[in-house]
Symmetry: C2
Subunit: 340 residues, 2 copies
DNA sequence: TTGAAAGCGTTACCAG
DNA sequence: CTGGTAACGCTTTCAA
C-alpha cells in the first residue's frame, strides 16, 4: 500500500527508471510509441503519482507561490482590506496554473506574523511570494531581500539598501488628478487634512497633492499642507471664515470629523465646502464621498504576474510597477460657492 | 550569491555536516556547547536557511495542509459558503503551526477544479488535505481514497467501497429537534417541503425529519414527505384547507415560495401556519426564518484537527465526526391556530 | 534508443 | 560525542 516510485513502474514495464521519468514528465521525443504505452500502462496499474518533494529538490521549482500577510488573512478579508487582493491573486494563479501557499504557520502570540522564526524561513517552500500588508515588517523585508529571496510587495515600501519590487497604487497621480479636477470646477483655495500616519502610501498622496497645488498655482494655508496633522477647533474656525472652498482629506475618518466640525459652524458639504477623500470609501453608510478607488483585484493579478515573471526568469531585474487608481464621483464635491 | 547549504556551514565551522544538521534541527542533546556556538555563528555568517524541499524529501512531512475546493474559493467566500469554513481552517492552522496550500492550479476551463490531471495529483504536495465542496467529484474522491491519500472532507459524502472521513453537520439531529420543538409548541400536523437536490446533506435532513415525525406520532401527508419535491398550486390548496399547522422547508427558497403561495390564499406566517427552515438563513433580507445554523467556523477547525491527527499518527483509523447545529428562533414559528 | 549513475540538500543510522 | 555514509525519489547527462 506504499506509494509506488518510478523504480517500481520501471520494473513492471521492464524498462529503466529514466525512461519512466521521461515519459512521466513529457520528454518523450526519443522514446518509441510502444515503450511509452507500456510505461503508461504500468503507471496506471500501480497508480503511480510523482513525488512532489523529490521533484522540487531536483527542479528547484514548485509551481507554488506564497502569500504572506503580516496578520491573518481571513478575518480581515471580511473587512475588505486583503480580500480583493486575494481575489485577484487566486484568479490569476489559477489561470496560469500555480498553487498558492498561505503562510499561516508563522503566527506569534500577538497575532503578528513573522517570516523568520528561529532562523528558518518557511517562505522558501514557494518559488516566490507575494507579501502584502499594511503592517509589513521592514527588517524582515530587508533580510529577505538580502537573502536573495524572490518576492514582490503589494504597496510601496522603502528599505535602505534594498530595492524592493513593489506593486504600487499610484497615489501620486491620483491625488494630483483629484486636485486638478477640483481646480477645473473652479476651486482655488484648498485645505489638506493629514492623518498621523507616516507611511509611503501617505507620503505619495502628499507628494501628489503638493505637485498639483504648485503646478496649478493654487493656494493652501492649512496645517495639513505644512505637515501638521491637526484638525483643531481653532483651525476649523479659520477654515469657516477663510477663502477655502475645497478640502482634501487623507481618509474617511478625517472627512467625517470635518463634516461634523463644519456642521457645527453652519456649513454643509458640498454646498459651502467641497470635500474629496484620498481613500476608497467602498459602500460605507452615510454620504458617498468623492474619492479614489484602488483597483485591488487588478493589483493582485499584477503582483502574481510580476512574481511569476521573475520566477520564470530569475535574471530579470526586479522592478516596481505603478497601478493607476480611479477617481469616483460622490456627492461631496460641487462648484465653489460664489464669493461676492 | 547562491543559497548556502549545510556543507558550507560545516566547512566554515570546521565540523561535519551531520553536526550542522543536528544543531539546525534542534537535536543538540549530545553536542558540546562550544561546537554549537561555532555552528550557529557560521549559520548566521552565511545566512544559511534550511532547504524545505530537501527536508520534505527526507522527512515525508511538510507542515503543509492542503485546502481543495472544487470551485474557486474567494468569489464564493464572499457569498459566505466557503468563507466561514476557511476562517476556522486558517485560524486553527495558525494555532498549531501549519501552513496552508490552496490548490488553485487545477482549474479547468469550465471553472471546476480537478484533483487528478494528466495523472498527477498535486495534492500530495501537502501532508494532507481538507476537501470542501458542495460540488465534490465522487470519482476523484474514490480514487484519492484508494491511493491512500490523507484527507478529510467537509460535509458527508458516501462513496461505494471507500470509507471517507467526513466532518458532518448533524442535520439528522437538527431536523429532529426542529420537529420536536414544533411539536412541543402543539403542532401535530406537518408538511415537508423537499427540494430537488439529492445529496447526503439532504438525505440527512429527511431522515431526521422522518424520525421525529414517527417517533412523536405526528402526521404528514405532504408530497415532500412521500418523496416528491412538489410545491404545486393544487397542493397549496390542499394545505390551505387541510389540518397542517407547521411546515418544514429544506431551504429558504422553498420557504419563500410557500409564503407567496399562502399569501395568495389569505394565509400568513406564522399566524396561520408556522414555518421552519433546514438551512441557515444568515442575515438575509425579509423575515427572519426559524432555522438551523451550521457552525461553519468550528467545522473548519475540527477538520484541521482531524486531519492533523491523522497526519501525525497515520495508523489512526479515519473516522467521521458529527458536529451539532444550533437552532435559532426567528419570526416564523408560533403556536398552532386553535382548531375548535 | 536506452540505461547507469551522479547528484539535489537533508536526516539518521552506526561505526569510530 | 562525532563524523562518515546511505538513503529519500526524481531528473539529466553521458556512454553504451
Amino acid at each position: 500500500m506504499k506509494a509506488p516510485r518510478q523504480a517500481d513502474v520501471a520494473r513492471l514495464a521492464g524498462v529503466s527508471q529514466s525512461a519512466v521519468s521521461r515519459v512521466v514528465s513529457g520528454d518523450i521525443d526519443r522514446i518509441p510509441e510502444e515503450t511509452q504505452e507500456r510505461i503508461r500502462a504500468a503507471v496506471k496499474e500501480l497508480g503511480y503519482v510523482p513525488n512532489a518533494a523529490a521533484r522540487n529538490l531536483r527542479n528547484k521549482r514548485n509551481r507554488l507561490l506564497g502569500v504572506h500577510t503580516f496578520e491573518s488573512v481571513f478575518p480581515h478579508a471580511r473587512e475588505d482590506f486583503y480580500f480583493e487582493f486575494l481575489l485577484g491573486i487566486e484568479e490569476r494563479a489559477e489561470e496560469i496554473g500555480y498553487d498558492l501557499v498561505l503562510f499561516t504557520s508563522t503566527g506569534t502570540s500577538d497575532g503578528r506574523r513573522r517570516i523568520y522564526r528561529d532562523g528558518t524561513n518557511r517562505l522558501n517552500l514557494a518559488d516566490g511570494t507575494v507579501l502584502l500588508g499594511a503592517a509589513t515588517d521592514r527588517e524582515e523585508l530587508a533580510r529577505l531581500w538580502h537573502d536573495g529571496y524572490l518576492f514582490v510587495h503589494i504597496g510601496r515600501r522603502e528599505v535602505a539598501g534594498a530595492e524592493i519590487p513593489c506593486i504600487i497604487p499610484d497615489y501620486v497621480s491620483a491625488a494630483d488628478s483629484l486636485v486638478a479636477s477640483l481646480a477645473e470646477r473652479g476651486h482655488r483655495h484648498f485645505a489638506y487634512l493629514r492623518s498621523g500616519i507616516e507611511q509611503e502610501a501617505y507620503a505619495d498622496r502628499r507628494a501628489g497633492y503638493r505637485n498639483a497645488i504648485e503646478r496649478l498655482g493654487l493656494h493652501d494655508r492649512s496645517p495639513g499642507y505644512r505637515g501638521e496633522p491637526e484638525l483643531t477647533e481653532e483651525w476649523l474656525d479659520e477654515l469657516a471664515a477663510g477663502p477655502e472652498t475645497a478640502v482634501v482629506a487623507e481618509n474617511i475618518g478625517l472627512a467625517e470629523q470635518l463634516r461634523t466640525g463644519l456642521a457645527a459652524r453652519g456649513l454643509s458639504i458640498p454646498a459651502d465646502v467641497s470635500v474629496a477623500v484620498l481613500e476608497g470609501s467602498g459602500d460605507e453608510p452615510g454620504h458617498r464621498w468623492d474619492c479614489l478607488v484602488i483597483p485591488r483585484k487588478e493589483i493582485g493579478r499584477i503582483a502574481i504576474d510580476a512574481l511569476v515573471a521573475r520566477v520564470e526568469n530569475p535574471d530579470a531585474e526586479p522592478v516596481s510597477q505603478l497601478v493607476a487608481c480611479d477617481l469616483v464621483a460622490g456627492e461631496t464635491v460641487a462648484a465653489p460657492r460664489v464669493e461676492e
